[in-house]
């Protein structure tokens, strides 16, 4: 377990090394300008360099004391997390196409029925109420514009 933690924490730090290098590289393409007249990439370049430096310190820390650098990963329900994230991305994709009420109804039904294991009858009821109530509160009362979709609601 200790070895897995070290690898995970080390990989995390190395990810930021790569991110720092990419930021600095991207910055050079934007143009660094000069010290007297800094260009569009100036802040990105130096932030990238500092990020690499700090990531290497964190990498060293993670090897020295892995227990301090990462918590248990096994206790997470990664399958459910992936499903929720996927449902959020699909929600964003369909929101303006199908409209707020329908998309919200489907999302809440899915979250309650599939993720929280609440029986389908109750999930459908709560999802309908949630979609309609939130539409009434935000669109009709607070006048926040919510997407209508091609069904017109």
């Amino acid at each position: 377990m200790k070895r897995i933690k070290t690898i995970a924490a080390g990989a995390g730090a190395l990810f930021w090394v790569a991110a720092g290098l990419l930021a600095s590289y991207g910055a050079t393409r934007l143009g660094l300008g000069s010290v007297t007249e800094p260009g569009a990439g100036f802040i990105f370049f130096w932030s990238g360099v500092i990020l690499v430096f700090l990531s290497l310190i964190v990498f060293a820390e993670s090897i020295r004391s892995p227990a301090d650098t990462a918590r248990e990963m096994g206790e997470m329900n990664w399958a459910k997390i992936a499903l929720v994230l996927l449902s959020l991305l699909l929600y964003a994709f369909f929101l303006e196409r199908l409209g707020f009420i329908l998309t919200t109804f489907v999302l809440v039904t899915f979250l309650l029925g599939c993720i929280e294991d609440i029986n389908w009858f109750r999930s459908l009821g709560v999802a309908s109420a949630a979609a309609l109530a939130s539409y009434a509160i935000f669109e009709l009362w607070l006048k926040i514009r919510l997407p209508k979709g091609f069904f017109g609601f």
Partner: protein, 500 residues
């Protein structure tokens, strides 16, 4: 002083108008509700309600949004005391002794002292705001880009120093925040930077979806599949007024908590979370019987509750006098001020005295409303807390998605919120703290502009930051803060988290 009092009277004249009283009431009630509910905080709520305020006059809108900020501090303690789950991150410490008091049958006294401590601290911080903000704004008229840059650097280093885990990680997150915050069009040349050809990113990544993802949705993801047993305190809550002995024990901690919270809240980036831990540790150190802490000591509730409320008042000072937000919450308020056509900064008080003094007076009225309303409403909050977390989590996700979408009417913001929820979850697992990231994200564009202007002004000489006394003082302080861990094994934040 006399001038401030006259202005305050003018502020009360504005805040007591029926429309403003109504929005103040809505704000503090909403704030208390979101404070009570774990997972959805004042930042998410402000972002969610911001589009609904576009049709209001700016003063009423800011009065309502500020009400959410300090109302959440009152609500957070209710959940901490009755459930042992902090309703807000800034109410974590209240769990330690508040819940123990509830278990010993003293929930009423814990809730009562927490409400009175919040009120006293809130009042103290409002007077601090009245005295300090105009003075600081006058002083800040002398600030040029180097001073602003140095002040923001100081804020970021202090946040990293106060991090409860690795300081290197906190600094790393600050740098990542700057990188993310600067995405979008270059402020001077309008060159698109890291937008990958997406028009939606030209204005940069919005603070609302980032906060919704990092805090709201990530919290829900972390708790997926975890059976969260909510044991709400079922007995009838009685004795809400603390007795003489309770007051005797609490008055010192309330005073110290108020002072500590207010002055730490002034520093950009510190917010209300860290001061609360500090105040608890301070009381424990000062106590003749420190072993009582963690076992239902009323001082352990009074001091942190005073501290987090005073800190919120403190965070309004850099916002209103310098135009610098010190937390994600004040960052969204800053955005709101700009949307309403106001220019945050040293001239705000001079140019919009009705807004400044009206909001301050409303904060006092709001605190009074909270004191009067909060205690009788506790049974209602208890009922809200009985909603199973499986339902609550779905609603938190839904509100976060609406909040992310509604500010710009853009589905890209929902994608961003989803991505940041995963980032937030991984940050929790790898023990990276989100506070420095959010602060740097907010300050990033301001910091970049200040740095570039300073360099242009000085013809490329970095010595400009040391040649001007105010910026030199900020830079020297930052260096001391950065170097401190090299000379001392115990860092303030780390020491506290281990101890408590």
């Amino acid at each position: 002083m006399l001038e401030s009092l006259t202005s305050l009277a003018y502020g009360f004249n504005i805040a007591l108008q029926p429309q403003n009283l109504f929005y103040c009431f809505i704000g503090v009630t909403m704030g208390t509700l979101v404070g009570v509910l774990p997972g959805i905080g004042p930042t998410a709520t402000i972002a969610l309600l911001l589009p609904a305020t576009f049709s209001l006059n700016p003063i009423s809108a800011i009065i309502m949004l500020s009400g959410i900020c300090y109302g959440a501090m009152y609500g957070g303690s209710t959940t901490s005391i009755l459930l042992n789950i902090p309703g807000e991150a800034s109410s974590v410490v209240t769990c330690f002794d508040g819940y123990q008091m509830a278990r010993q049958g003293r929930a009423g006294a814990a809730l009562g002292i927490s409400a009175f401590a919040s009120f006293i601290a809130g009042t103290f911080s409002i007077f601090g705001l009245i005295l300090l903000a105009p003075t600081l704004a006058n002083f800040a008229l002398r600030f040029g880009p180097p001073e602003y840059f140095a002040l923001m650097v100081m804020g970021l280093t202090v946040v990293a120093y106060l991090a409860r885990k690795s300081m290197a990680k906190a600094l790393m997150m600050a740098v990542v925040g700057i990188l993310l915050g600067c995405i979008g069009l270059d402020p001077i040349t309008a060159t698109p930077r890291f937008t990958f050809g997406m028009l939606e990113l030209a204005d940069g990544i919005g603070i609302a979806p980032v906060v919704m993802g990092l805090f709201g949705i990530a919290e829900v993801l972390e708790n997926l599949g975890v059976l969260r047993k909510t044991e709400v305190f079922a007995e009838k809550i009685k004795g809400l007024f603390p007795n003489r002995e309770d007051w005797k024990r609490s008055i010192g901690p309330i005073t110290r908590g108020s002072l500590l919270g207010f002055f730490l809240g002034l520093l950009p980036g510190v917010g209300a979370i860290v001061p609360q831990f500090l105040s608890y540790a301070l009381e424990k150190k000062l106590s003749r019987r420190p072993e009582r802490f963690g076992n239902g000591a009323i001082e352990g509730v009074a001091s942190p509750e005073a501290c987090n409320n005073a800190a919120v008042g403190g965070t309004f000072i850099p916002l209103l006098s310098l135009g610098i937000p010190s937390t994600a919450m004040t960052a969204i308020l800053l955005g709101a001020l700009m949307i309403y056509g106001l220019t945050p900064g040293p001239l705000l008080i001079k140019n919009s005295p009705d807004l400044f003094w009206g909001v301050i007076a409303s904060m006092y009225i709001g605190n009074l409303m909270l004191l009067i309303l909060n205690l009788p409403l506790i049974p209602l909050w208890v009922r809200v807390l009985k909603i199973p977390y499986s339902y609550l989590s779905c609603f938190i996700i839904l509100f976060c998605l609406i909040g992310a979408y509604s500010l710009n009417n853009s589905t890209t913001d929902i994608y961003i919120a989803a991505i940041f929820s995963l980032i937030g979850l991984l940050m929790k697992k790898f023990q990276y703290e989100p506070a420095p990231l959010v602060l740097a994200f907010v300050l990033g564009p301001l910091l970049e502009t200040a740095l570039r202007r300073s360099l242009i002004q000085s013809d490329g000489s970095l010595l400009i930051f040391l040649q001007r006394p105010i910026s030199a003082a900020f830079i020297v302080f930052s260096i001391v803060v950065l170097a401190a861990p090299l000379f001392s094994q115990i860092r303030l934040g780390r020491g506290l988290s281990e101890e408590d």
